[in-house]
Amino acid sequence: MIQIKGLVKKFGDRVAVNQLDLEIGSGEVFGLLGPNGAGKTTIIRMLTMLTRPTAGEIHINNCTLPADEEQVKAMLGIVPQHFNLDPDLSVGENLELHGRLHHMAAEDRKLRMAELLEYVELQERVHDKVQSLSGGMKRRLMIARALFHRPRILFLDEPTVGLDPQVRRKLWDLIRRLHSEKFTVLLTTHYIEEAEALCGRVAILEKGKLIALGSPEELRRRTGEYVVEWTEGDGRETRFFHERSEAASFAGTLTLTATIRRSNLEDVFVEMTGRKVID
């Protein structure tokens, strides 16, 4: 569905994305995971044609960018990290504008609006100005807007950033529903639990480079599924094991108190880069 070959983006001397190769299949929920500044948003901006790549190729559903820009734009639904709803328009008018920009017929726009506002549970707010909506409601409206023209691929850039845990769970349910409806979803996040809960595969990025690729399970297996964790001096020490019994034996040899737990993507990231996803 999405093929990226040798993608590079430089801003002056700074390399934001460095020789990225990636393939994302149809119907996948794929995560770009990494700390702030890892290049996640720049990748999304290049895929959505908001930023031109310095080098490399992007193919989406047998179309090539930027040559087939118009066709690709019709296939993509985009939910950016920041709220970019039109504050001067109502909830319904924001969707109406999107439908018009995507050349949808008036009758179709009307039907789709009713359908999607119900989908994101905002049907009561159709005439309200977007400024009166909460953060979670705005994010849901942005998802409804991104889905309005029936795209095949959805880009979600940090979809739950700044939202409280309850609203975040609700958005996760919505993303799972999109997956069950066979949408291809590419999401960026720096929340480990979000990537683990939602993504079939993740690409871990560090300073614009791809450092690991696979399902959360695979990545954990590669590093070691069990972690022995203990404190020594001022620092936290960890060691990875493939079997719980090996971890337990090792912990038994320590004179300090140690914890044995299952590893997560955060551990994978720390093991590969020497630092946390959120520093």
């Binding site: 959505t48 044609m49 908001l50 930023t51 031109r52 820009e69 118009e70 734009k73 019709a74 993509l76 985009i78 950016p80 920041h82 709220f83 970019n84 709803l85 039109d86 504050p87 001067d88 328009l89 008018e93 504008l97 999107h98 018009r100 920009l101 995507h102 050349h103």
Partner: protein, 246 residues
């Protein structure tokens, strides 16, 4: 293309429709002050080119007001949309051409400029000014509105802070408001200054409106000047849309 232009225009029309009363009343303040101060006050006993000063300045007030309204109708909201609200991205990721977006915005700014010009024409008649209004007059005002909507577009896309947008108005629009033959005849200005002023679109809009208002025709040079500015600024606006993706 036409559908996309109308979509961009539709959005701005929805916003204007909600604020129409505020828009109309707020647009009356400046011209009423100009008409009272320069028409009734300063100009009561002044004769210019054989006519009343009020009749002389009305075309200038129309030109400068349509310039300010068109520039600010496009410049300020678009700058906010690009830098603060980020709503410009909604257009950039949609399958519409940069040309359609530029033309939609310029037409929207032109519409606001024309509404405000219509208000001034009515007010000027109420203040006792006498001048001819015909199709030619409306076309010149339209070209002026298009040129300054285009300038507003370019400024909004190139200037990277809202404060600097204000500075642009102070350094570019404000001097033009007073120097482009709006309030006085520029024939007595030093040649170099006059030559520069005569290259500016506001000067030609004022010249043309004054000529038509007096019952004559707009000079050919004024038509050419305004049309060239519109075409160049539309072209530069489209270039800025391409540049924003870099």
């Amino acid at each position: 293309m036409f559908q996309d232009i109308s979509t961009v225009f539709w959005r701005d029309w929805v916003v204007l429709r909600q604020r129409m009363k505020t828009f109309i009343f707020s647009r009356m303040v400046t011209p009423v002050l100009y008409l009272v101060a320069f028409g009734w006050g300063l100009g009561r006993n002044v004769q210019v080119e054989g006519g009343s000063y009020l009749d002389f300045i009305v075309p200038g007030i129309l030109a400068l007001n349509s310039m300010n309204i068109s520039f600010n109708s496009v410049g300020s909201p678009l700058n906010m949309s690009r830098l603060y609200h980020k709503t410009l991205e909604e257009y950039l990721v949609a399958p519409i051409s940069p040309v359609a977006f530029v033309l939609g915005k310029i037409l929207s700014g032109t519409m606001r400029g024309l509404i405000s010009s219509a208000i001034i024409i009515v007010l000027s008649y109420l203040f006792g000014a006498r001048f001819h209004v015909n199709i030619q007059f409306a076309l010149i005002v339209t070209l002026n509105c298009m040129a300054f909507s285009g300038l507003g577009f370019v400024a909004a896309m190139l200037i990277n802070s809202h404060e600097d947008m204000g500075n642009f108005s102070t350094y570019v629009l404000l001097p033009m408001s007073f120097l482009c033959a709006t309030f006085f005849n520029i024939s007595k200005l030093p040649t170099v200054v006059r030559t520069i002023i005569e290259l500016l679109p506001l000067t030609h809009c004022t010249y043309a409106l004054r000529a038509i208002g007096a019952g004559g025709n707009a000079p050919l040079a004024s038509w050419i000047n305004l049309i060239v500015y519109v075409l160049v600024l539309v072209g530069v606006s489209v270039w800025t849309m391409e540049r924003v993706r870099k």
